[in-house]
Amino acid sequence: MTDNLRESISALMDNEANELELHRLLSSMEQSDEVRNTWKRYQLASFAMKRNLPKNLNIDISAQVAQAIADEDIEIETGGMIKQAGWNRLIKPLTSVAVAASVAFVVVFGALQVNQSGSVTGVVKQDSTELNTLAIGGNPGVKDVMPVSDEALTPSQKKLKALIDTHTQQVDLSRGRAFMPYAQLVSDSESQRY
């Protein structure tokens, strides 16, 4: 590996690489393990200096995500993203979901929902922060499929919502919740989304 390349990496990390250097770096990274590893080391040094050192340095996110998906005993139907906001929608059974795996640090968790007739519907929810990002980015796959008003909730969903409210209120009384005191003031009304 040439000193030129090292300097280009350094420049790129400082956001000072020009177009040409960038192209040269990208193509050499494709071909050379050494260049890739140097890039990785420099990044780690930079993270360390910024005190942002990731806790698990050797985690391969793609493998983790794949594992998380494999672990979920559910069907994943394709057919569009779902954005969610408010309990009303979160607790509605989802029929059409997809996993956003494009952005790093996507965390997928599964929720298994068995309806009264016994058939199983798969639910994969993305972390809401992630969904926010997608929504802001204007992802064309995002569409609104959930009814939002209380009237649209099934009795069991209403019940769950009530229990969540009861918990919030109870915890507020016993002062069991630090630093985020105003959950109760944040309503699920239409205007408060996003």
Binding site: R51, G86, L90, V114, G118, A178
Partner: protein
């Protein structure tokens, strides 16, 4: 030559990251904020600052996909704390608190359930924790100086000692100790955020700023009494947990009427001083099969059905804990064996 450049590059990085800067200005920082604090001292400082200072500011609170801005005006009078909270977004809604008395006004288009949208205690009290337990599950680390809403701050990480609970980072005003920003973290992800975007800590708060600013339907009530009446029976719990994370203690138990009064649930609430979860157990029909899991911001809810000799029951775990913790808790609830 390359080495020199590398060094310079790292030096630039260090400056950007504020590492060197923080070393240089370190001596100028108020001593009492610098020490690596005990969790309990830190929380005491935060709650004192919220109670003792006079302030008028706007903060945002984001939770899941929703974000809301609220104005808080707070003044400590000789007799009591007075405060006014104004929703800045959506339908108008305001509340003023004079000691323990709360008055609430909302405009006609407000759709919220008014009784359950009022914080039970003053703003300041929301930050008072029972600190006797909170140190066991967490470790406090000083990260360093910073700047929030135009004021110099000290930033701390409150790190969970295990994977069963969330972590926090908080930014305290160097001059007053007031909490100016906090985030709730699951690993590296921010699930909830509280942050002042504007604050005045210098000027006197006139009475006019503590009066209701909108007209509408007025509610007066005492949230504490209202809520206590909803516990209809205290008795020995008939359910228990076979597992829970270290440091959680029971805060409440009993049979509670939940919203609307037409539901009753055996309720257990546990807290580790920083966070809490509740477990509700209700009778379910023989054919009940429903299982659900859902999350918004830091709050998760898990529903499962337990089948036993005494019939089916719904177990619902609601709390500000990671989903894996809530699921494990839901699986750890068992009926208490009655002595024969």
């Amino acid at each position: 030559m390359v080495r020199v450049e590398k060094f310079l590059s790292l030096f630039r990085l260090a400056c950007k990251s504020g590492l060197l800067c923080s070393l240089m200005v370190g001596s100028a920082i108020a001593d009492n904020l610098l020490a690596e604090p005990e969790a309990s001292n830190l929380f005491q400082r935060i709650s004192n600052a919220f109670r003792q200072n006079n302030y008028d500011g706007v903060f945002i609170y984001s939770h899941g996909n929703s974000m809301e801005s609220l104005r808080i005006v707070h003044r400590l009078d000789d007799t009591a704390e007075r405060e006014r909270i104004v929703r800045m977004d959506g339908p108008k809604h305001e509340l003023i608190r004079n000691g323990e008395e709360v008055t609430c006004v909302h405009s006609a288009d407000w759709k919220g359930d008014i009784n359950h949208r009022i914080p039970a205690g003053p703003f300041a009290k929301a930050f008072i924790r029972d600190v006797s337990h909170s140190s066991s599950g967490y470790q406090v680390e000083l990260i360093g100086p910073g700047r929030i809403v135009g004021r110099d701050t000290m930033r701390y990480a409150i790190k969970p000692k295990d994977e069963f609970r969330y972590g926090y980072q908080i930014w305290l005003d160097q001059e007053t100790g007031l909490l100016l920003k906090s985030v709730l973290l699951h690993g590296e992800r921010v699930l909830e955020r509280f942050q002042f975007t504007q604050i005045d800590l210098e000027n006197e708060i006139p009475d006019t700023e503590l009066n209701l600013g909108i007209k509408g339907e007025v509610f007066k009530h005492h949230p504490l009494l209202l809520s206590e009446s909803e516990t209809i029976e205290q008795k020995k719990p008939s359910w228990k947990l076979t597992w829970m994370p270290d440091g959680f203690v029971m805060r409440m138990q009993g049979i509670r009427r939940t919203h609307g009064g037409d539901m009753q649930a055996d309720t257990l609430t546990y807290s580790d001083g920083m966070t809490a979860f509740s477990i509700f157990i209700e009778k379910a029909s023989a054919e009940a099969q429903e299982q659900m899991a859902t999350q918004k911001g830091a709050t998760v809810a898990v529903v499962r059905v337990i089948k036993s000799n005494s019939g089916n029951h719904f177990v619902t775990v609601v709390g500000e804990v990671p989903m894996t913790t809530a699921k494990r808790l839901a699986e750890s609830i068992v009926p208490v064996e009655l002595p024969k």
